[in-house]
Subunit: 213 residues, 2 copies
DNA sequence: AAGGACGAATTTGTATACACTTGCCTTGAA
DNA sequence: TTCAAGGCAAGTGTATACAAATTCGTCCTT
């Protein structure tokens, strides 16, 4: 039960249905879920050490805000670690025809969604693509960190892909990554992934600047 | 109070005075600290989501073990992120004479301890050296992750520096890093740090193989 | 009318109580 | 003597109760 509350609350924070800055009242949450405050507090403490909520003594918990600077900092780490994950995943993926096929299917679907300008469907497949790499990198610690960073970013990104031609360019970048996988060239995968996320971060930054103007 | 218990318990786990595999009884801990079980449980949940303890339903919490594979996985990430932190820290450190001086002082002390074969004092300064880089990289998320990884490793490393000439070689590697800082060459810092931790990880692995024979 | 101070209500922090699960120990039978 | 079954002790999971702190509203003063 407690795990259910945890994951559901977590998701609500990550997908912004509980917005940053919102107060998380223990009493309210315990009523909503029909449990006492004790398990609710444990859930909130877990979310706190994940960096998703903040607490101050006698004032309770609020959903952590994430600033533009934070996004920048997180992307800096992400660029490095996504590349690393790709490099580690290369021998695993390229030697396994089933995995290779799965990746190629994903990119084909992405292409279709891109042509139809279906941003939402595209984003979903895009995330699946990268999660596959995390899961196949063979380093569970790395997988966990990337998941973590991604959760934080999801709370910020409403949609960066509305930039004109973003999807089209993105497909090209992904094709480069897949090609490097196919060749089994780990360094090329690392480089292509790094470049891809660097561009993604720049696009996001530009979008944010435009919005703030 | 709860924070005090958290940090003290955490340190005891990290420095192995509570060994991996040890059972953490809520009742026992609450007696020891003179508080009720409620705050103890919150502390344990926090430690759980940090990956320092594991819990199973109705069986309580035990200190998480860390395997040789985990050490390998963590070092892989560390090599990448320590390099990144160094690269980011370069302009900050090299432009600040005070920081530059602090770093140079540390390496001088490390050299002294190395000559006297004082492993413990050396390790301490060595850690300080690297923590300085984390703190001056300007990316608090990165600092936090590196701290995190370091805590996990500390639980494993008894002493890798007993390898013959390890300290001497280590000093040389650090001097290379400092020299790159002095030149303001971020890429060189990144490379030197990466090489340093790669060698550290290999030394540790060799030590572990030797022990297991 | 505005600002501050006091007090009530709400909310958090912690203790305690009780239900339920687990694991151990005892006892009895093969 | 060994193994199994049942019960008991210990410990976790959760609810509830109470203490302490904060917040908000009201009232008084300037």
């Amino acid at each position: 039960m407690i795990d259910r509350i945890y994951s559901e609350l977590r998701q609500q924070i990550v997908n912004r249905s509980i917005p940053p800055g919102a107060k998380l009242s223990e009493t309210q949450l315990s009523k909503k879920w029909g449990v006492s405050r004790t398990p609710i507090r444990e859930v909130l403490r877990r979310l706190e050490s994940e960096g998703l909520v903040n607490s101050s003594p006698h004032r309770g918990f609020i959903v952590n805000s994430i600033s533009i600077e934070d996004v920048d900092h997180i992307y800096t780490i992400k660029i490095s670690l996504e590349g690393l994950a790709g490099r580690l995943a290369t021998p695993i993926i390229s030697k396994d025809p089933q995995k290779m096929k799965a990746i190629q299917n994903l990119i084909r679907e992405m292409e279709t969604h891109s042509k139809r300008m279906d941003v939402k469907a595209y984003s979903k497949k895009n995330l699946q693509f990268h999660i596959s790499i995390w899961n196949w990198c063979g380093n569970p610690w790395l997988t966990k960190i990337l998941n973590h960073l991604s959760s934080q970013l999801n709370r910020f990104i409403v949609s960066a892909l509305h930039v004109p031609n973003r999807m089209e360019r993105s497909v090209k970048e992904h094709r480069k990554i897949v090609e490097a996988f196919r060749m089994g060239d780990a360094r090329a995968v690392e480089k292509a992934l790094g470049a891809h996320f660097k561009r993604a971060s720049e696009d996001l930054k530009n979008e944010l600047i435009k919005k703030s103007e």
